[in-house]
Amino acid sequence: MTGTFVRAAALASALGPDLDSAVERLAGAPVAPARNTKTGGAWPYFAIPISGGDWRERAEAIARSVAGDLRREAAIEPARWAELPCIVGSSSFSVGAWDEGGWAALEPSFEFASRLARAFGVRGPVTALSTTCTSGLSALDVALGLIAEGEFREVLVLGAEFCNRLTVAGFAGLELLSATAARPCDRERDGLVLGEALAAVLVSAAPSPWRIAALATGMDAASVTGPAADGAAIASAMRAAMGGARWESAAVDLIKLQSGGGRLADSAEANAVRELFAPVPGAVSLKGALGHTLGASGPAELALLLASLARGRVPATWGFAERDGELGLAPSGGDAQGVRRVLFNLSGFGGSVMSLALERAL
């Protein structure tokens, strides 16, 4: 089978400092996020349980930890590893350094991306990009192009979002946050809970268990901060991903929803899903467990989902308890046997909409 494959993934998130601990914790009872005093303390926040040093030292320590996990899983010889190109997607890069160090602590986004690449021990070309909450999947999109053109056989993709007051204050100002918990698709949902994550995905031309069958992008310009209520752009991106993968909608076994607990955004995505699927296949949202990790959410949720499926489980959707009749979605966990094709949705500020088609290859 040809194409691009997910060779390895690693993650530091609120669920744990590594992917194994995150999957294990996700299989257990839901845990509520703490209120994070570093972001003002007024809002719940999913923080990575790694501390020490100033903001930048902590970010680098998290990066080294994730890098170690990824290298072990990828099992690439050191010389090849060192030459990997690194594509970094983030919505905030190093803005959190301001919280402790003021203007002197801030550095241009490219320099921070290069700092992360160095922490991973790679010396290939670095690209830093932002498409707000889809940044990590946009980074993956760039990586797919590099592999498809034969420039590289393997590319390191990072989704990075570290704790910072600006983002929390901004979402608070927009009145998009829940004061209690993220409840994706739930009748009582009342907003997002933000979180931080560093996720690393190594994509490769060499066959691995999951193949990236297609990645579709779209633009929803209805508003710069939310989707059109009808979900048309989301449906269009999902349709394009299925078309690129040459799937009929009936072939989809599982949809990883963007849904994070926002009233309008969840409703728009549900409209898109109902437009394309009847009956609606299994669905899952990971933002009740990870928080909305913004620019990191693509690689972070991809890493967590594939690791859960590899252990035979579709994870439960934390925060979902009661079906909303208007949405018509009831995400549920369970046995992953038979899950061979996954549609993976993401969208963000600025109208960016993406849908990724993943299929089992081995």
């Binding site: 003002g40 932002s130 204050a169 100002g173 992008t217 310009a221 600025g350 109208g351 960016s352």
Partner: protein, 217 residues
Amino acid sequence: MTVYLLAPTSLRVAPDDFPARVRARFASELRRAGRFAQLCLLGAQACLDAAGGDGALGVLWASEFGALYAARAALDEDLRRGEAAMPFTFIATQPHLAGALLAQRSHPVTRTACLYLPADAWPSLPRLAQRWLAECERVLVGCVEESGSGGVAHRSDWCLFRKKPAAGALRCERSLEAESAADATTEDWIPRVAAWHRPAPLLLRGGEDAWSFASDG
């Protein structure tokens, strides 16, 4: 793969003149968009006006600092007081929003991205545009930087890549002659392409990567 470049447009605006330029082009439409997005749109719209054409549009732009001054305003004015950020101030900190604002002005934008690039990495832009042309008819490529001081102009340089030839378009290809190419930067490659009027190709290099720009006649 050969692609075609149209309407290289180099915009330099003194900070004091900027509000009037934006008002003259967009009336009060962009009042809440933030200066970086306004700067992107001013240059992008000038390029599109010059290039004409239609069809699915990708929008790809690069900056070293992005929406630095919106971030500064949000951090200094709101966070120092421990308050929630004002919505439009916060939104303006996200440079990627310029793509949506362009789409809201009836351009058929299908994909966008904002890259943070060092000065010699500008060839990433035509290379990525080449890839996007597999899905888009046109890709608008820009290099945008807000001025940090009153004596330095804001920059918003744009050009339009197409798959197909067009009147006045330059042929663009990656070149294997990097050693004979002139060094260019994110700041000057579009202005140099705009100023090139000789029959011989213009060879420009950034890092290890070189590009050739030649008239298509």
